[in-house]
Subunit: 226 residues, 6 copies
């Protein structure tokens, strides 16, 4: 049996996990790895601050430990990629972070990537991460939509702010590809792309794509050797 | 019916295309896009010089034009990514270059990537490309195995040179992940990885992984809208 | 007899070649190399797309081969520097690209260079090239005037758009030197410089300057050795 | 009364804390802030893995919360700067990380800094951090002494390995200043500097220097306003 | 007796030196190094042009030579850090430049630093310096207040222009920390910080902080060895 | 009459000036600008330290002031480009530094430039300058031949050390083009190029090439306007 791709939403919101599950559904195939999306029961309702990011790492590592036996790859489904390197250390499997994969995928679609963040306080954290990734020369800007949790539940308003920010990234900062700086927003991807007129990457889809490919190749290689 | 992923080997070597076909076989699934690998009849036997790289672009564009109707994505299977941007202009589909995808995938597996080139003359061309990609800060070194076409047919010697070069990239240049700087070498990947002790990326597998995921997501989105 | 500097306009427009010829006339001297400007009969009327850029390489290489005997240096007079590295491989002579030389010359005149492109679609191509050149830290912005071929024939309108774009590069992006991102525009250089108030580089003049110096030094060195 | 500088050693080793305390003693003055060094009782005996780094953040944040009332500044005394940004969010005080301050101080003493790490597994973590700091252009190399905890207790062997690595950083990688990539090693600083012949920075001293200055300036400004 | 920190204002303005003296007063302690601020009698009234910067180096080096016997460290109190490397060569002591230390300190307080210059002509000089420092990836922008010497004496107008420029650096260029690009302006620091809402660094305070720490550590190490 | 190109050797060595004069002779033409090479009587016998570099600026500026009337361009013929920006401020003419022009010209001849310095102490100064130029991504290494003034007079030994260093730059650091990091060494250029097998740039020839072209274009433009 093929190992599974575990997509860990490190917050406790089942609604976000359901969104993620829907977004990656097209990547499932009958003869491929299972793609299992789960929330972190012990996690915060949303991951907003650096404290939240750092705080979910220990419980996420414990959760991954439980999943290790059947795991073929992990995807950490939060745009701050919490615990990415700690889980890489802990597991024998490859681990994909959605920010890392989302940005790298964007680099195949445009010369300057823009990022749509939720909160202004996330922006410097993203910048540090893009610096660690060494991709600042390809970076246009990272702008927040600036909506709080309650406002985000207003779908029309959220999409409309995303479009505004996306247009600013294109017109004022020269972005020719966008990355949604958040998990669980894939339902807005196509509308945003249409409205702004440049490609938009849902980072969770980008990461799960890479994870699925990896597990398929790995299994084949194992079969071949045995 | 789902559109196909066309993997174009822009040289005329059917042997290389067969190798590529075998390498990407695990990425095929019954309910996913077809993955069709083909050689460029009008191409040179191998792509070694900048002249070769530039010269295959016009025939490759013509070939892609013929394939456009059923295409969901293209993969250009030569480590110089010839015609990547011209084909992106010409086609309504996404186009993936194996050098671009191979390097970006390597960035998820180590902090400094090393590249194993075939010929010394390819190295400055690769450096220009990594500069255009904006990833020089993550780059360890690019070293050639320095074997001519006839010598490459000696499999044991080729693998042994790859291992030597891979070890030098790790020990002397600090690489912690390697990219094979050539299409059609996937059969050496696992042995190389075992011998050097750091992950090794076959760039064609990396690109086809991303192409397959893209076509699956796109088709689902089209179905959803109709 | 001193070898010639061949300035190859890789499009077929004799008008552009005439403009180039006039622009480089002051670099001719009685005891220096001939400077011979020519169009590429087989080239497109203008080079606008990446397909155009890549497509002119094979005929340009053939043309250069015919010229090789009397060549001392080549200048490729298109701001995408098509075939620069392929011609460097093919010829025993040095080859100068106008984009490369224009940008490098600008680096001696200001700390942040801005580029005036013709079409918006050229901008990402330029960015990739500046990345390959490794000069992104000195780069202010690249903005298009956005005029089509017919509109370009309106000289007053073209200059006026160049001035607008030049002023935006200076005021909004911090450019303190400009490069004209096109061959055959030298007639606007002085007016543009006066209007914007920062130095403006005509890239063809920059490249021919370097080519002429090289041929003079080379010939002297040959004479000295014989 | 002047607020204190709290130097938090995020591991539980009292011996390391005592070393740190001795190293920063010269920065104490009768009329300046108290400098209080403490261990994290709940921390691991040493911080070696990424898991250790991430795992100490929650207890460290709780500890800092207890100290907040009298705090003027915090110093996080571990070369991975665990929780630096989370503590910056949480506290009204400035927070100094020893890796950040050690590297920045090194930039005033040489053009290319080398880092002496303890374990090879720390090197990619350091590289990511230097990337996030945006200082890769000034970075020579980061080499480990490769000694385990028991071997580190052999002082002569530790110093001798540090000197070897320091000499390699200078001779083979062009470093002209060194940073000790660890807290609690200041006792080796002067001998290492003498043996290698280039300046050596103890990162904890660098961070406490900046913290003390900050608290003095802040208090004066508060006095002035009241 | 502890060696002194000499803060050399390389212009001849006693008013500026008095301002500097007041700004660094909180860094003095009864048991620490003396901090002696002095003007350069032979210097220009203000340092505005590159010619001024270069021209003060020879007299500053002569002045430092006279001070060498009792010196523990030097601080060059002009934002162009004139003669920084020449004095490092000449003296056995460490030398701190206020631009270097101001910018490096800013890197501990925000992810993108903005600089408030006095004159527009200083901006390219600053940019060259930040390039030499290798910190361009952390740089937001450098904008001048554009006031001449007489206008600067109008305190309200100066502060008001600084606030305007600081706000533009934050809002339009993404700066989250500011550096005052001039010596002798510390009296505006707190008001500017309050008005703009992000940390503001007085570069002279930053440099003297590092110098004082260095002298304290050095003296302790000397005492220890003797 | 056409304005002159003044090549100022900022040291007092007439022998070096004579070497420079010979090196640029092929760039003279009957109908072009005069190229006048001169020593700085008040300069040091050689420019070795940062103090020397900074110290020659005031007398060099005075000298240039005397020459201004007939000047069309200046070339500063010392590889530290002393006073480059101060002279640009002072003069209405363009000013070319040999380090700047030498490195930029090298960028047209290879992907990674290596520099042959005379003394080890010059290396960090060069690195700062390449950083200010923003070309570190194209930089291979800068290695000194390490010969003192008396040893330099031994021509065979000097060339032999240059060849050793050039070979190390190519083999160990990946340089594919070299820049001679000194004025007055052009007589070794061809032999060095032959021995190492990659292009070698004499920086004074590079700078005078650009200066001559500039003056020719400028005069033509003036004639055209009048």
């Amino acid at each position: 049996m093929m190992s599974s791709v575990y997509v860990i939403n490190p917050n406790s919101s089942e609604a976000v996990t359901a969104e993620i599950d829907a977004a990656v559904a097209p990547l499932r195939s009958s003869d491929g790895p299972q793609i299992i999306c789960l929330s972190l029961a012990g996690g915060p309702p949303g991951i907003q601050s650096q404290r939240d990011v750092d705080g979910v790492i220990p419980p996420m590592l414990r959760k991954a430990e439980e999943l290790e036996e059947n795991a073929g790859a992990y995807v950490i489904a939060c745009f701050s990629d919490p615990g990415l390197h700690a889980l890489r250390e802990q597991s024998r499997c490859r681990v994909f972070g959605i920010a890392e994969c989302g940005v790298l995928t964007a680099l195949t679609l445009g010369q300057r990537f823009g990022v749509i963040a939720i909160l202004p306080t996330s922006v410097p954290r993203h910048l540090r991460y893009f610096g660690a990734m060494g991709v600042i020369d390809r970076f246009a800007a990272d702008l927040p939509i600036g909506l709080g949790v309650t406002e985000l539940s207003n779908e029309a308003r959220t999409l409309s702010r995303m479009i505004e920010v996306g247009r600013a990234l294109k017109a004022d900062h020269g972005a020719d590809v966008l990355v949604m700086g958040c998990a669980g927003m894939a339902r807005f991807r196509a509308s945003l792309e249409d409205a702004v007129g440049i490609p938009v990457v849902d980072p969770t889809q980008a990461a799960v794509t890479m994870a699925v490919g990896h597990v398929r190749l790995l299994q084949a290689s194992v079969r071949h050797q045995s």
